[in-house]
């Protein structure tokens, strides 16, 4: 008798989840403290320009393509935007996901109908594949890519893909696919603090810092 699927589901919903959350939180707290405790030498020079607001403007500005870049690198910008928005919709607006968040931290919000989330998920998956193809075919991007880039791409794709396949009952039975879906999310959680996926937490702080320090040095945005 095979009860592997249910056993795996029980493990990923139980000990597996606890382990993943523990490593995730440990890593996030560790890295945030490490980064913020580095500090900088006191800047004794007089600021070259009035830099107030420069950090905030950079957070916004870097989210938009600089002039001409959209034409030069459309896949990076459009693919990147589509993927990220699709991912946010899939992760944060699917009812079972919201129920998980409510269970963990007690806050919740209305979700979207599942066919809408389904569409967002498949659009995200396509966008991920397109940006990967672009990364591989573009000689500069390929040169700049290392193992970590492909690892994080895979770790991001798997939860989306398994979630999509589970919802549509494709390839494996639902129980096993759901278990794999949760397992791949747990792998993502474990890897997130220690890879470039940490940009989830560091992105806006880094942009603010770059904008602010550049502002002080005379290139306020």
């Amino acid at each position: 008798m095979s009860s592997t699927a249910m056993d795996l589901l029980t493990w990923v919903r139980g000990p597996g989840f606890v382990i993943a959350v523990a490593i995730f939180l440990f890593g996030i707290v560790l890295r945030l403290i490490e980064i913020y405790s580095l500090g900088r030498k006191p800047d004794l020079a007089v600021a070259r320009t009035e830099s107030r607001g420069s950090g905030g403007r950079t957070i916004l500005g870097r989210s938009l393509p600089p002039e001409g870049m959209l034409k030069r690198s459309p896949i990076t910008y459009i693919g990147g935007y589509i993927f990220h928005i699709g991912l946010f919709i899939t992760v944060l607006l699917f009812e079972p996901h919201i129920e998980l968040i409510r269970n963990l931290i007690g806050i919740s919000w209305p979700g979207l109908p599942s066919p809408v989330v389904d569409a967002a998920a498949i659009i995200s998956i396509i966008a991920l594949i397109v940006v990967l193809a672009n990364r591989i075919t573009d000689p500069v991007k390929r040169f700049l890519s290392n193992f970590e880039d492909y690892l994080t791409w895979t770790l991001t794709l798997l939860p989306l893909l398994t979630g999509y396949l589970a919802y549509h009952h494709l390839f494996l039975n639902y129980t096993l696919m759901l278990a794999l879906h949760i397992l791949t999310v747990e792998l993502l959680l474990v890897a997130l603090p220690f890879t470039k996926l940490f940009h989830t937490f560091s992105l806006f702080a880094a942009r603010w810092y770059n904008g602010d320090i550049s502002g002080r040095k005379g290139v306020a945005s």
């Binding site: 008798m1 095979s2 009860s3 699927a5 249910m6 056993d7 589901l9 029980t10 919903r13 139980g14 000990p15 989840f17 606890v18 959350v21 523990a22 490593i23 995730f24 939180l25 440990f26 890593g27 996030i28 707290v29 560790l30 890295r31 945030l32 403290i33 490490e34 405790s37 580095l38 009812e95 079972p96 996901h97 129920e99 998980l100 269970n103 963990l104 209305p110 979700g111 979207l112 109908p113 599942s114 066919p115 009952h169 039975n173 639902y174 129980t175 759901l178």
Partner: protein, 361 residues
């Protein structure tokens, strides 16, 4: 009842009309997703079939499976086939007891050796044979002995199929499923707590008509009955897709019949026919009566983490471990910070000041 009587004769003797019999055959064919052209074939096969000898062994169980079969409001053809015609031995139901009952079992085994169907409900304790015995025979010994001459075994109920509640953590009796002990016979699992009665007779009819057991899934269940999840066949599914959920058992959503996912319904991972065949002569099923599915036809369903926890939330408490992990993160982060500061301070102290004079030397 003599063994040479055909099933058709036996049923007529019980007062089942030809119409009632054909209706049963048609229902069975449609339940098993067979084409209508198969109905006469089933009828002919069942009509001519010598009454099947069925030995029913009850081990660590609650009698719910037998209740499910026998306590229907009106006697059904499936009830008659199983309960009054086929059973040679069922220690819960039969009037005889102790050695007389055991004699009936031995006789049935001898007369139909290699041909009888063995139905088992209940799990088998292997921790200590004394946990469950019948006429002084341990469940394990009785199963092994009776299984030897069986054509096939039907594990009725989740206890026989997967261990069920006796096997639930911490499994005090060392309970195991039939398939854990018997490896050389075809075993059909008909899980459920209890299982749907018509599934059992469907399996029986399939065996009598085709001489084979139905196609099984990877958990040993007949695919015709356990091929789809209850969630996929649930009449409340549109509410799930729309995002309309009952948040408690007495809120507006519950009164409007919205989806019970958030109240712990396990229908998405439960493969069973409840949503289609329903219970009590097609009257209703748990979700229809306002309670989520508890997943009773799935292996180890008692240990899935709570009947009232949504499928997407964790089984185990997370807060304490999460707090400890965050605290460990603070400590490790502080250690990192100290190390980085020390590296910085060391670099600073090793820094040599170079003056113009030094350079001009």
């Amino acid at each position: 009842m003599s063994y040479d009587k055909t099933l058709g004769e036996a049923l007529r003797r019980q007062g089942v009309s030809r119409r009632g019999f054909m209706k049963f055959c048609a229902t069975t064919a449609s339940l098993m997703a067979l084409p209508p052209s198969m109905v006469p074939a089933i009828a002919a096969a069942l009509e001519q079939a010598r009454r099947p000898s069925v030995i029913w062994l009850s081990f660590q169980e609650c009698t719910g499976c037998t209740e499910s079969l026998t306590r229907s409001h009106s006697p059904t053809v499936e009830g008659l086939i199983l309960g009054q015609i086929s059973l040679d031995y069922h220690h819960t139901l039969q009037a005889a007891a102790d050695s007389a009952a055991e004699h009936a079992r031995e006789e049935a085994m001898k007369e139909n050796y290699g041909k009888y169907l063995l139905i088992v409900d209940g799990s088998i304790p292997v921790g200590n044979p004394g946990y469950s015995t019948i006429a002084g025979i341990s469940n394990k010994d009785m199963l092994l002995e009776t299984a030897k001459g069986a054509a096939a075994i039907v594990s009725v109920g989740t206890c026989a199929a997967y261990g069920g509640i006796p096997k639930a953590n911490p499994n005090p009796t060392g309970a195991v499923a039939v398939s854990d002990l018997i490896k050389d016979k075809p075993i059909i699992n008909v899980p459920g707590c209890p299982p749907i009665p018509v599934v059992i007779t469907g399996v029986l009819a399939h065996y009598l008509t085709f001489g084979t057991i139905p196609e099984l899934d990877d958990a040993g269940r007949p695919k015709v009955f356990y091929g789809e999840t209850i969630h996929d066949r649930c009449y409340r599914r549109p509410f799930y897709d729309k995002g309309l959920f009952a948040e408690s058992f007495d809120d507006e959503g519950a009164r409007k019949g919205w989806c019970l996912f958030k109240l712990g319904c396990k229908a998405p991972v439960t493969y069973n026919a409840c949503a289609t065949t329903k219970w009590n002569a097609g009257t209703s099923f748990p979700i229809q009566s306002g309670h989520g599915c508890i997943g009773c036809s799935e292996p180890n369903f008692w240990d899935l983490g709570g009947f009232y926890k949504a499928l997407s939330v964790p089984n185990d408490p997370v807060t304490l471990v999460a707090g400890a992990a965050a605290a460990a993160g603070v400590a490790a982060g502080a250690a990192m910070a100290m190390r980085n500061r020390k590296a910085k301070a060391d670099a600073k102290s090793k820094h040599q000041t170079v003056t113009i004079d030094d350079l001009e030397k």
